[in-house]
Symmetry: C2
Subunit: 146 residues, 2 copies
DNA sequence: GTTGATTATTAGAATCATTCCAATTTCCTG
DNA sequence: CAGGAAATTGGAATGATTCTAATAATCAAC
């Protein structure tokens, strides 16, 4: 599992010339603590328990900062609110249509060469995003669970 | 190529107990005419040239109707406005980050079994969505071009 | 450690795609 | 034609996100 600890945050921020702040640390630790792909609003709710004075704008700012530091990825499903994911491994998402939960699916590196093969010549993909929709077995557990 | 003509529309609508209207036909023909994955707003602009009195709400309604008839698919990239696509073949999307254009990429059926294989037991995918990001060669042309 | 300059946070206003609403209008069916 | 269902319409409402301008925290040098 990606051993990206909250401690790593200060370093990453410094690398980008940014400061480590209580808000940023808390937002990041909330993402690490419960990897259920929360929305900004859900992060806001969780973070407020520890830091009641924080504002939603700050949560958005912190999330944006974490994304720009490449510590967190955004996940967009349909037109729903953006979700945030601290899993940096190459992975796909499985959107359970029954529960609404989103699970991470680890991807073997081999799949990427197979996918690249479907691109016509001249297409240079810098990234791929794979999203499944369907039903997940109740007991199913991968690298991320709710 | 999918030979879904505007004529097929009336039949599909009837199958769903819906009426064929000038607005619906025009919206659909606009999608067929230029397969560049337009947004609702872009469809609105194109449709107004022929039917100046049409309202944006109607365009949204028509698009929604076409989607519910399974004649058109929605494409969501990041948090950008929803785009509409009359290509019913299984296909991926390639989002050209330079031009902003979205191209269809035909998918060989084999890729689906490979993708299904990455799912842990218990996960039943009903659909997959694959989106590439990167640069497309200028001359690149697939089943859909701008 | 005070002074500035830079960077963060904040509350609330603004934006923008989309949906909702209530009021016509259109279209069948009898 | 009359009645009723289905569509369309303009405008208001929604909701996630971004912007703005003001305040607060932090850092670097003196």
């Amino acid at each position: 599992m990606s051993s990206t600890t909250p401690d790593a945050l200060a370093q990453r921020l410094a690398d980008s010339g940014l400061r480590s702040t209580p808000q940023r640390e808390l937002v990041y630790s909330v993402l690490l603590a419960k990897r259920d792909h929360p929305t900004a609003d859900q992060v806001f709710t969780r973070v407020k328990e520890e830091l009641p004075g924080i504002s939603l704008a700050t949560v958005y700012n912190c999330l944006e900062t974490l994304v720009s530091c490449r510590l967190v990825k955004q996940v967009n499903l349909e037109r729903e609110p953006t979700r945030y994911c601290p899993n940096l491994h190459p992975h796909a998402h499985f959107h359970d249509e029954i529960t609404g939960a989103t699970h991470d699916i680890d991807l073997p590196p081999a799949i990427f060469s197979k996918l690249r093969a479907v691109l016509p010549p001249g297409y240079a993909a810098q990234g791929v995003e794979i999203t499944f929709r369907g039903k997940a077995a109740a007991a199913a557990v991968t690298c991320s669970e709710e």
